[in-house]
């Protein structure tokens, strides 16, 4: 590897992080448009079931708790890498993956339950928008999980270097971003059905 100066490396990391912020902005627009579409279609039930008939508040509470806790654990992982603490970083990342997988498992159980009840995405415009919104978030979480697993392997193989720090910083940005999106899903998609 070329021994580029630390200043150059640091500049590259800063550029990458700026680029990642831009990506998140683009992704925020993507989610906003799906949210707007959901809002437009929120009463297009086509005499099918609505959210109040389908949603289970316990499942929702568990999903939300898992995802919000995982945001804490990834912050702790980030903190551990900054202190160059390899073991702790791996432990917290593994915790994050477990929590994230739990969230996804509950989500898949919920959605497949709806499909089994005949309330799949093809049932009505409302359900199409619901499945697409929640599914897009779930796909992002899946991508985040693959990313976190890759970083765990890299920490184990190579320890913590500036690249890893930058990557983990971006992953935790991404993860917090998904948390914010979930809070919007929670408040705009699920919560109104329980009020």
């Amino acid at each position: 590897m070329i021994a580029a100066s630390d200043a150059v490396e640091e500049q590259i990391d800063r550029e990458t992080e700026f680029g990642f912020w831009l990506y998140l902005m683009s992704d925020a627009v993507l989610f906003s448009l799906i949210f707007v579409t959901f809002a437009v279609m929120s009463s297009n039930l086509a005499s099918g079931p609505g959210g109040a008939d389908l949603f289970d508040i316990k499942n929702l509470a568990m999903q939300t708790a898992l995802l919000l806790t995982s945001s804490l654990t990834i912050a702790l992982a980030h903190h551990a890498t900054e202190g160059r603490n390899t073991t702790r970083a791996v432990v917290w990342l593994v915790m994050t993956c477990i929590l994230g997988t739990g969230f996804l498992a509950l989500e898949i159980r919920e959605l497949s339950g709806f499909v089994a009840e005949g309330a799949g995405p093809g049932r009505s415009g409302y359900l199409s928008a619901f499945f697409t919104l929640v599914g897009t978030h779930g796909l992002h979480v899946t991508a985040g999980l693959i990313w976190a697993l890759t970083l765990i392997v890299q920490i184990v193989l190579r320890g913590i270097d500036h690249r890893l720090l930058s990557r983990l910083a971006r992953l935790s940005l991404f993860w917090h971003f998904l948390d914010i999106v979930w809070i919007a899903v929670f408040s705009l998609v699920y919560l109104p059905e329980f009020l």
Binding site: M1, I2, A4, Q11, R14, E15, T16, F18, G19, L22, Y23, M25, S26, D27, V29, L30, L33, I34, T37, V40, M41, N44, L45, A46, G48, P121, G122, R123, S124, G125, Y126, L127, S128, A129, F131, T132, I146, T150, Q154, R167
Partner: protein, 653 residues
């Protein structure tokens, strides 16, 4: 999904081959012959290794830029063939069927629009941004060179899907905008609309990444002293265009993905039944679609600004007003999307607001035209081909702008809705505004990229054919639109229309001569490259940094990155005779290593797209797996740069 879909080949079968019309069949043959011919040529010349290491895996922004422009020119020819076929059909189909079966005619107008916007104009723009912007701002490469290669290859994959659709299966018949419910599976089963969706989805991902790449490049990689208000105007317009890409392209992704979900998984976003909302598609699509017009045209405005200053031998008039006008256009471009469907029935107030916003956006554009005119005023104008295209643009674009302001008035819009008046209007914006700009940029910067100039006689011929051909091809469409002729007619019964349609066909033939002149220009220039060689690196007496280096530039661009102390710093350095000071003498030079990431992602994108079109799901998942594996694999690569300090001072690569 169709019942007879097999696990291995999905719904792909022998009936996918284009035996339904001799025209389609010969189109497929030409496409195949082109592809096979290219492979044979490379093999015959024994250039596979050179092609692979020098181009296909290259992450040099200059090489990528050239590949983008080559792609754009090839697709320009394909898109133009579609255009002239339509003109011929309409010229002869009064009370007759013409030579194209209706379904084939519909495929042609759909692929013409899709190709020209997504696979001609977009790659042409991205190519010029790629080649020129790092040179203009004093950078050694873009911020993310490998990502840049991936963007190119995804665009290439999208274009590849377009071309494949000519041979295997049929293309969409739903127009380049793919409006539901017609584009839904109920009215248009088959693979056509799916080809349209996946080719623009795959390339759209690449474009989004290009936007991110160039915003970071322009904001973070400028030479010392290159303040924002010292940036050349092409860089400014590239920046605004890239910002628009970041914010607008998600809308395209969302609208086309939802259409795909409707078609493939039976969802109800845009269907008539099941609680779908058709108009939501138009809103989502044009939230992308209108900014897209400015994504394409702003860089062209930047090129005109560079060209008009250089060839008037004058400082650009009103630089700050041009910058502000560009930024205002970029912001306002998100406030006018509804003018694409005034007839939706949104209500008088909504239409009025969008109509007024549309008229307002014409103001900064007008400011620009005045700035260019004042730049020419009392300048010493040299009528080289890039300048000819610029002057031609100014004359024609004003006409298009006028018809645009007419269309911005909702009542007039109602009466011209879906007529050829609209077709004339947007071609009047996009051919002079976008294409003339890119052609001007191509001829202006060609000597920078290849070290010799393009033949000016053939360049001038091309311009005049394009200019007169454009007027003949599209002015009749304004008249026809006012006479009530709907767009996209495959046959008609009104005798008054035919003479004008014949004139339009003659115009298209002249444009064909313009394209042939472009090819001739390239051919003649390559043949005479010894005579046309440019040793100085600055053949036009340029003003911006890209002219301060040898042509073609070394792979690392700047031996020493210069310090910039004013706008047009290079021009001032030439006048004063004092070269620009170096930021840091003999700093280490490193260039990014070649990477197979680009081709890998291109193959992955192609597999995903082709698999999703034909329901060959194993192929789509294989493509996805390739993409994920490639990204993960790449993250384990430690050494990504080559030190080339020892080559400093070499003039070319």
């Amino acid at each position: 999904m169709t019942e007879n879909a097999s696990l291995l080949l999905g719904r792909l079968g022998l009936d996918a081959l284009p035996f339904y019309s001799w025209v389609a069949f010969s189109g497929a043959l030409v496409t195949l012959a082109g592809g096979v011919g290219f492979l044979v040529l490379v093999t015959w010349l024994g250039q596979w290794r050179a092609l692979w290491t020098g181009w296909l895996t290259s992450v040099d922004h200059k090489r990528i830029g050239i590949m983008y422009i080559v792609l754009a020119l090839v697709m320009l020819v394909r898109g133009f063939v579609d255009a002239i076929m339509m003109r011929l059909q309409q010229a002869m189909s009064y009370n007759r069927e013409g030579y194209l079966p209706p379904e084939h005619f519909e495929q042609i107008f759909s692929s013409h629009g899709t190709i020209m916007i997504f696979f001609m104009a977009m790659p042409f723009m991205t190519g010029l941004l790629n080649y020129i912007i790092p040179l203009q701002i004093g950078a050694r490469d873009v911020a993310f060179p490998v990502l840049n290669a991936i963007s190119f290859w995804l665009t290439f994959a999208g274009a590849g899907l377009m071309l494949i659709s000519l041979v295997i299966g049929k293309f969409s018949t739903a127009g380049w905008t793919g409006y539901p419910p017609y584009s839904g599976v109920e009215f248009t089963p088959g693979v056509g609309v799916d080809y349209w969706i996946w080719s623009i989805l795959v390339s759209g991902v690449g474009t989004t990444m290009t936007g991110i790449n160039f915003v970071v490049t322009i904001l973070r990689k400028r030479a010392p002293g290159m303040l924002l208000m010292r940036m050349p105007l092409f860089t400014w317009t590239g920046l605004c265009s890239s910002i628009l890409i970041i914010f607008a392209f998600p809308a395209l992704t969302v609208s086309t993905t939802m259409l795909a979900l409707d078609r493939t998984l039976g969802m109800h976003f845009f269907t008539n039944d099941g609680g779908g909302n058709v108009m939501n598609y138009m809103n989502l699509f044009w939230i992308w679609g209108h900014p897209e017009v400015y994504i394409l045209i702003l860089p062209a405005f930047g090129i005109f600004s560079e060209v008009v200053a250089t060839f008037s031998s004058k400082r650009l008039f009103g630089y700050p007003s041009l910058v502000y006008a560009t930024a205002v256009i970029a912001v306002l471009s998100f406030t006018v999307w509804l003018h694409h469907f005034f007839t939706m029935g949104a209500g008088a107030n909504v239409n009025a607001i969008f109509g007024i916003a549309t008229m307002v956006i014409a103001v900064p554009t007008g400011v620009k035209v005045f700035d260019w005119l004042f730049t020419m005023f009392r300048g010493r104008i040299r009528f080289e081909p890039p300048m000819l295209f610029t002057i031609g643009f100014m004359c024609l674009f004003v006409i298009g702008g006028m018809s645009g302001v007419l269309l911005a008035i909702p009542p007039i819009n109602y009466s011209t809705h879906n007529t050829t008046f609209l077709v004339a209007h947007f071609h009047n914006m996009i051919i002079p505004g976008v294409l003339f700009g890119y052609l001007a940029g191509y001829m202006y910067w060609f000597p920078k990229a290849f070290g010799f100039q393009l033949d000016r006689v053939w360049g001038a011929r091309s311009f005049w054919f394009w200019m007169i051909g454009f007027l003949l091809a599209f002015m009749p469409l304004y008249a026809l639109g006012l006479m009530g002729m709907p767009r996209r007619l495959e046959t008609y019964g009104n005798p008054e229309w035919q003479p004008l349609l014949i004139v339009a066909f003659v115009g298209a033939c002249l444009i064909l001569m313009g394209i042939i002149s472009l090819v001739m220009q390239l051919w003649v220039s390559v043949k005479n490259r010894k005579a046309l060689v440019d040793q100085t690196g600055d053949p036009w007496d340029g003003r911006t940094l890209e002219w301060s280096m040898p042509s073609p530039p070394p792979i690392w661009n700047f031996d020493n990155v210069p310090v910039v102390s004013s706008r047009d710093a290079f021009h001032e350095a030439k006048l004063s005779g004092i070269p620009l000071p170096a930021a840091e003498e003999d700093s280490p030079l490193s260039v990014p290593k070649n990477s197979v990431m680009g081709p890998c992602m291109g193959v992955a994108g192609m597999c995903i797209g082709f698999g999703a079109v034909w329901y060959i799901w194993w192929l789509a998942f294989a493509g996805l797996a390739i993409a994920v594996a490639a990204i993960i694999g790449r993250s384990f690569v430690q050494s990504t740069e080559n030190d080339v300090s020892f080559k400093r001072g070499a003039t070319t690569t």
